[in-house]
Symmetry: C2
Subunit: 296 residues, 2 copies
């Protein structure tokens, strides 16, 4: 087995399919790196791409994609609902197989340096790759968005200086690069149209307001149905099954149940196996118990 890294670059373009396709083509142009999923949202004016492969190949593919996005997206004219500071807005590396988080941090730093040196784009390091504690949190780096960051850099605010590259924003803006564990986007639909119940449950279960440590959550209304929309930042420590049962219990408090669940994007298979093991109470389950493990 050779090392496999995942990267999930976010681009500030979700309305012009030909631009998205050009960026995906650039991300697909390197032998050894493969785009396995991408989706665009017009309201957010944003696209999210998932690529996987050998670490050096993925880094090279990301560089090509970032260069293409810088050439095709003009942040001085870009508008959309989603917060953003750059054409390539954020690029997390994710360890998948035979690679450590520390190695992903090194990949993030090297790419951030190269992007600033060769493309003249200011870069910020975030999450596990952050060089300052406050930059572990993406929202802190993106505060004020493109326009606000541009103004603060022009005003010479030292607190907003990039980790690499020039202290001014061009039409490509700035790019945040880092490393994080696999993230799972998982939503629970409730048997009610009352979004206040979803909001109350989200507040009860998420980390920021006293809930589970590696969980972000918000209550939203989707096609007339209340939904608890969640990001699992580390499913090995805050697992899907425990949160699902916690949400179920909170929902019961309001006399409602869980109608269904949905994934946005991809899920590591281990997260599903962990859930099966927990619900079935299979204490002695190991990879060796799984037939398919022996076939690979």
């Amino acid at each position: 087995m050779s090392p496999i890294v995942e990267a999930v670059p976010n681009f500030s373009e979700g309305r012009r399919p030909e631009v998205v396709q050009a960026i995906v083509a650039a991300l697909s142009s390197v032998e050894g790196a493969r785009v396995i999923d991408y989706s665009s949202d017009a309201d957010h004016n944003r696209s999210v791409v998932t690529l996987v492969g050998a670490p050096a190949a993925v880094s090279e593919a990301l560089f090509q994609g970032i260069a293409r996005a810088a050439a095709l997206i003009d942040m001085t004219r870009q508008q959309g609902e989603h917060p953003r500071i750059g054409a390539t807005d954020v690029v997390p590396f994710v360890p998948i197989r035979e690679i450590t988080m520390a190695e992903c941090v090194a990949l993030a730093r090297a790419l951030a340096q190269r992007v600033s040196a060769e493309l003249g784009i200011p870069t910020y390091l975030y999450y596990e790759a952050a060089a300052r504690p406050d930059r572990q949190v993406l929202a802190n780096i993106r505060k004020g968005e493109y326009e606000g960051l541009k103004a603060e850099l022009e005003a010479g605010n030292p607190d907003r200086l990039p980790d690499f590259g020039p202290a001014r924003l061009g039409s490509a803006g700035a790019t945040v690069i880092g490393a994080r564990p696999p993230l799972i986007a998982y939503n629970l639909y409730l048997t009610t149209g009352d979004v206040e119940i979803a909001k109350a449950i989200a507040k009860a279960v998420r980390h920021s307001t006293g809930g589970m440590r590696y969980l972000q959550a918000m209550g939203v209304l989707v096609e007339g149905r209340a939904q608890v929309s969640m990001n699992f930042l580390d499913y090995t420590r805050t697992p899907l099954h425990r949160v699902t049962e916690l949400v179920r219990r909170e929902a019961e408090r309001y006399g409602v149940g869980i109608q269904s669940a949905e994934l946005i994007g991809l899920i590591p298979e281990q997260a599903l196996i962990d859930a099966a093991q927990w619900y079935l109470q299979l204490d002695n389950l190991t990879p060796h118990s799984i037939l398919d493990w022996h076939l690979r």
Copy 2:
């Protein structure tokens, strides 16, 4: 992807490790077939081996293993708790990947013919490969065990004639060969030492006494704890999660719960993913949702 078949031969030897190892060595002697698991039980005087690989290679490896078992196990002297009629007692082929049940039936018939022709061992076809409806059920073929079958054949009972080979049993006995879906051996330990509760639950949930169609179950006492011991004959139609919850509900009826579950042998990964999907209510889960699927 090339076709992969699994075979799970059962041998009537579980006390002499050197004999078991010699049989496993024979099963491992063919390029393209691989032994991935085996275990022996001294009380049952029986060993179960799991091998996987290309269909032709697995068939050849089975033939080598059957020949070795015939040379090393003398059924006229063999004793043990488990019902048996031959040195190699039963050999199911199981479709795993890129192979149909019909192809597994053809493999079973070809092997049964070869074993009888080249080794002089009478062979019976069972389950999906059965040539007569009553031989779909293994217990019907094995009725009376080695001694009883030998006597009936000597008495000329036409109902017990083998599908292939001579109508008499030598020291290697007879071998049952067939094809079946993947079988999962899954046990639930109850929070009680009262085996009568496990027996009542087994009776409630198993097919033979009115329960779930593809389920065998019995209640046993294991190290002082009541256990519902089960075989899932087709987990796609009678799944683990549904039966687990059914057993839980029956157990509640007696005021007890499920303490833990255990697997004997291997489980197809899909059975675990099915359970996770059901418990998490992930209606939209597909193989494409699973990151690892894209990495293979």
